[in-house]
């Protein structure tokens, strides 16, 4: 059942791939804009590169998360899905996994932009990919739940970031710090503890949001 839900959401994303591309361009544009806030100081830009990458990803994530439920609202598709003999939990995990996939893709696609613009390359690709996977998982779990709520409310464009941003402060903090350590060097071996924090956040929110999602959509 989960697989069917996941397949549906990936199919949905594939059919609307132009949107993903648009969000990617939005993210790259924000990366370009951040550098204007700092000025053409190569050293400072390199130091802040990781933070900028995660801010760009966070801003893009509100677009991509909101989009993911937009399609379900059209012609009351969500109500139809809930009538199927599938549990709401399977629908949630399908949606959250698909969103995670999309956000991870965005994150990985933004890395080359960051490297080119900020000269912030690293040879430790494995660790970088790992942090992007962990961090985007942390954005996707609560983000999917909040997108389900806000897509049905008034002023949804404002509400989603308003609710999501304070909540994912630990994710932003840990991912930015870990990415920064990967880029700039990690003499104290701190990346491990930051990724551990991300793992904890992911475990807590992937289970908690899955438990609560049913209540959000079923009433």
């Amino acid at each position: 059942m989960l697989l069917a839900a996941l397949r549906k959401d990936f199919l949905l994303q594939w059919r609307t791939r132009a949107q993903v591309l648009a969000i990617l361009i939005f993210g790259a544009t924000s990366l370009l804009l951040f550098s204007f806030a700092i000025g053409p100081n190569a050293l400072a830009l390199r130091q802040h590169a990781a933070g900028f990458l995660w801010l760009a990803l966070l801003l893009s994530s509100t677009l991509s998360l909101a989009e993911s439920f937009q399609a379900e609202m059209e012609q009351r598709a969500l109500e139809g899905l809930l009538l199927l003999p599938a549990s709401a939990r399977a629908l949630y995990y399908g949606k959250a996994l698909a969103n995670w996939g999309q956000l991870a893709f965005l994150g990985l696609a933004l890395v080359p932009v960051m490297i080119v613009l900020y000269d912030a390359g690293t040879t430790n690709i494995g660790a970088l990919v790992g942090i992007i996977l962990l961090g985007t998982a942390g954005l996707s779990a609560p983000g999917t739940l909040y997108a389900a709520m806000t897509s049905q409310a008034r002023a949804r464009q404002t509400l989603l970031p308003l609710l999501l941003f304070p909540l994912v402060v630990p994710v932003l903090l840990a991912s930015a710090k870990a990415t920064s350590l990967i880029i700039l060097g990690d003499p104290m071996g701190q990346v491990r503890s930051w990724s551990l924090l991300l793992v904890c956040f992911d475990l807590i929110y992937w289970s908690l949001c899955g438990l609560l999602f049913g209540r959000v959509v079923e009433d």
């Binding site: 609560p142 008034r154 909540l167 630990p170 840990a174 956040f201 949001c209």
Partner: protein, 239 residues
């Protein structure tokens, strides 16, 4: 209506008692208690700052409890209490940040510092204020109750995670104040103010709950029949 009025007596009395205690404790702290050796008079803000911190956490924890009950047991009253507790908690946490900034400027030389407790409180203010905004933008009372309860649980669980992540990230704050870490001469004004704010807060939560209940009643009440349908019948009766 008279039952409504009577219900309001207790919160008003609590709030009045709280204000009186707060005035007593603060004047004691401001004029009678000895100044602190290193920080001087600046330290006297502690008499409101520390009790505000305790009570802000208490109010938000109350809101969290209400969210759990409202989500798993149901009941409109708990939804009203959730709204009241959260609103009072957000106001207290905002005051807490402001007091902290006022204290930090002469002591550390900056208004803001990225220490774990200060930062966590700020994140908390935004997280819970967001939920209050969410409540405003959802018209269906059933959805509003469920969603704000879910969002409250999610945000409350985040508080310790934010705290520890910021603590790893940066640290510089006084060790948490409790009667044990504070000299004996400072105890009484601190305690009186703590209870003062506690009573004031309970009174405000009580009043705000009443307001929320009244609002819910007017939302949930079946709509009155349109005036056109009523008017002819009554005029006929008069004749």
């Amino acid at each position: 209506m008279s039952a409504d009025r009577q219900g309001a007596v207790v919160p008003y009395a609590l709030a009045a008692l709280g204000l009186a205690l707060l005035a007593w404790g603060s004047s004691w702290g401001l004029f009678a208690a000895p100044g602190e050796t290193y920080m001087g008079d600046v330290q006297r803000i502690m008499y409101v700052h520390v009790p505000t911190a305790w009570n802000a956490m208490l109010a938000l924890t109350f809101a969290f409890g209400c969210a759990l009950v409202s989500l798993f047991k149901g009941g409109w009253r708990w939804d009203a209490r959730l709204e009241a507790g959260m609103e009072v908690g957000v106001v207290l946490s905002t005051l807490l940040c402001m007091q902290g900034a006022i204290w930090a400027k002469p002591t550390w030389g900056v208004w803001w510092d990225w220490d774990p407790r200060l930062t966590t409180t700020a994140v908390l203010v935004f997280a819970f204020a967001g939920i209050l905004v969410l409540r405003r933008f959802v018209d269906d009372p059933v959805k509003r109750a469920v969603w704000s309860a879910v969002a409250t649980i999610i945000a409350y669980v985040d508080v310790p995670i934010v705290y520890f992540s910021v603590r790893w990230w940066n640290s510089l704050h006084q060790v948490q104040s409790s009667p044990e870490t504070v000299s004996k001469a400072f105890h009484w004004p601190l305690r009186i103010n703590a209870f003062g704010i506690l009573f004031l807060m309970s009174g405000l939560i009580g009043l705000r709950t009443r307001l929320a209940v009244l609002r819910l009643e007017s939302e949930l009440a079946p709509p009155l029949p349109p005036p056109a349908a009523v008017a002819p019948a009554s005029t006929r009766g008069d004749r």
